[in-house]
């Protein structure tokens, strides 16, 4: 867990660094954030479980493609929040470990309100990575599973990929 704490601290440091917020450091900042988040989140595992059974029917190329799209989608969802991070207080409430699985309960104090965030982690080769998080009890993975499922039922995996690509393009041009 110590290694994870370090990665989180590193990410917070990058987010708060005034120097990196300069316009000419934009791509460097993005790169650093990407590196740091990869040390915290297991995007592949998140992508796999958010897809449910469909994952097993995919070729490994399709799986890789999906992981890429999924990672970008998650980034989009939290990018705004990350950029707005301004030294909000994070409280570590509790940590439960059982073998290779762990749950960490935290709270973020934002605008005088306590927002509960729970992380689920798995250990893989000595490294703890987050594979799901719950914000106010809403699991990111469960939520995406329902969301994806709603598309897959009507338009299959191909339709899902197409929708994801379109969605990402839209938000890319919006920024």
């Amino acid at each position: 867990m110590e290694q994870l704490q370090k990665s989180v601290d590193e990410l917070l440091r990058i987010l708060q660094s005034q120097e990196l917020k300069e316009p000419d450091k934009k791509s460097e900042r993005k790169q650093l954030i990407d590196n740091a988040t990869n040390e915290i989140f297991d995007f592949r595992e998140m992508a796999r479980s958010s897809l449910g059974q469909t994952w097993d029917t995919l070729t490994s190329e399709e799986q890789d493609q999906f992981v890429g799209l999924f990672t970008r989608l998650i980034e989009q969802r939290y990018k705004g929040k990350l950029d707005a991070y301004d030294n909000q207080k994070i409280i570590y409430k509790k940590e439960l470990i059982n073998g290779k699985k762990a749950l960490i309960n935290t709270a973020v104090i934002d605008k005088d309100l306590e927002i509960l965030i729970d992380y689920r982690l798995k250990e893989n080769q000595g490294k703890w990575l987050v594979y799901d998080l719950k914000i106010e009890n809403v699991s990111l993975i469960s939520n995406y599973r329902r969301d994806f499922d709603s598309i897959i039922r009507k338009e299959q995996f191909a339709g899902l990929v197409e929708k994801m690509s379109k969605q990402l393009e839209k938000s890319d041009t919006a920024n």
Binding site: L73, I74, Q76, R77, K111, N137, N143, R146, F148, S171
Partner: protein, 276 residues
């Protein structure tokens, strides 16, 4: 996150819910089914793992077993009204982007964040009576007493609720209970999903809950003029939108079927509150 608006009368909701009740007697069986599921999940979770790991106190052990398998998700909430719900989801979405958001941006430009937080506290304080009653109805005497103390302190020392003296100074936390949760406490399932125009996501049980809580709201108890109530409610909505500008956009902008994502988020959020 989700646009709430109360420009429709409680009577209308009552009638609508009543009509829905008549139209969908099936909701009872669904409600029962859902309750069975949530009740049934506990024994499954606690099976097998009992002697694993260095579990200390009994309480801790129970919790550790629980989080391990919590992975299983509840069945999707029934949605017999989906076409209507989707229509009103779309309607609320437009309402947010065309009306609520522009207004909230102007509002947010005028009033600093501290003021917005104080206004939020004010409206939140008005819901303390309902929270106190619901805590009591769920057998949580301490939680209820805490709400009473919060309401008393914040309405006086906390300057009619604008400050959170009870929370900041006394460390008294809000219990966040409502009548929908009380109904769930006594075994009521969600019934089916309802996406109300203006009010946003809900279900049959929580709609009844909203109605019940409405009766003990100070606006009703003090017989505040209807137009004044609507005005105040509008301020409440604009204020809470100002405090969460951007959240709704990010969520629906990164969902592939925003309707399905919001519906699921609502269900998970409510289930989380109920389990607490």
């Amino acid at each position: 996150m989700i646009p709430h608006n109360v420009t429709m009368g409680k009577n209308f909701i009552l009638q609508a819910v009543f009509i829905l009740f008549l139209l969908f007697p099936v909701s009872h069986t669904q409600a029962a089914g859902e309750t069975d599921l949530s009740a049934g999940s506990e024994p499954v979770l606690s099976s097998g793992k009992a002697d694993e790991g260095p579990n200390g106190a009994e309480d801790d052990a129970g919790q550790e077993e629980k989080w391990e398998d919590e992975w299983e998700e509840a069945d999707a909430l029934a949605d017999p009204l989906e076409p209507f719900n989707r229509f009103f989801f779309h309607f609320n979405d437009k309402l947010y982007f065309w009306v609520l958001k522009p207004v909230a941006r102007v509002y947010s430009g005028i009033f600093p964040e501290e003021v917005q937080i104080a206004v939020r506290n004010f409206f939140d304080n008005l819901e303390a009576p309902a929270r106190a009653i619901n805590s009591l109805l769920q057998g949580n005497v301490r939680g209820s007493a805490s709400e009473v103390a919060r309401f008393t302190l914040n309405s006086t020392v906390g300057i009619i609720g604008f400050g959170d003296f009870a929370g900041d100074v006394m460390g008294l936390r809000s219990s966040n209970e409502d009548f929908g949760q009380t109904l769930a406490h006594y075994g009521a399932g969600g019934g089916f999903y309802i996406n109300w125009p203006f009010l946003g996501p809900s279900n049959l049980r929580d709609s009844l809950g909203m109605l019940g809580d409405g009766y003990v709201h100070p606006f009703i108890l003090l017989d505040v003029d209807r137009d004044v109530t609507i005005g105040l409610r509008t301020i409440e909505v604009v204020n809470s939108t100002a405090l969460t500008l951007g959240d709704y956009e990010l969520f629906v902008g990164t969902a592939l079927d925003p309707y399905a994502a919001v519906k699921d988020a609502y269900q998970q959020y409510r289930n989380g509150l109920i389990q607490k």
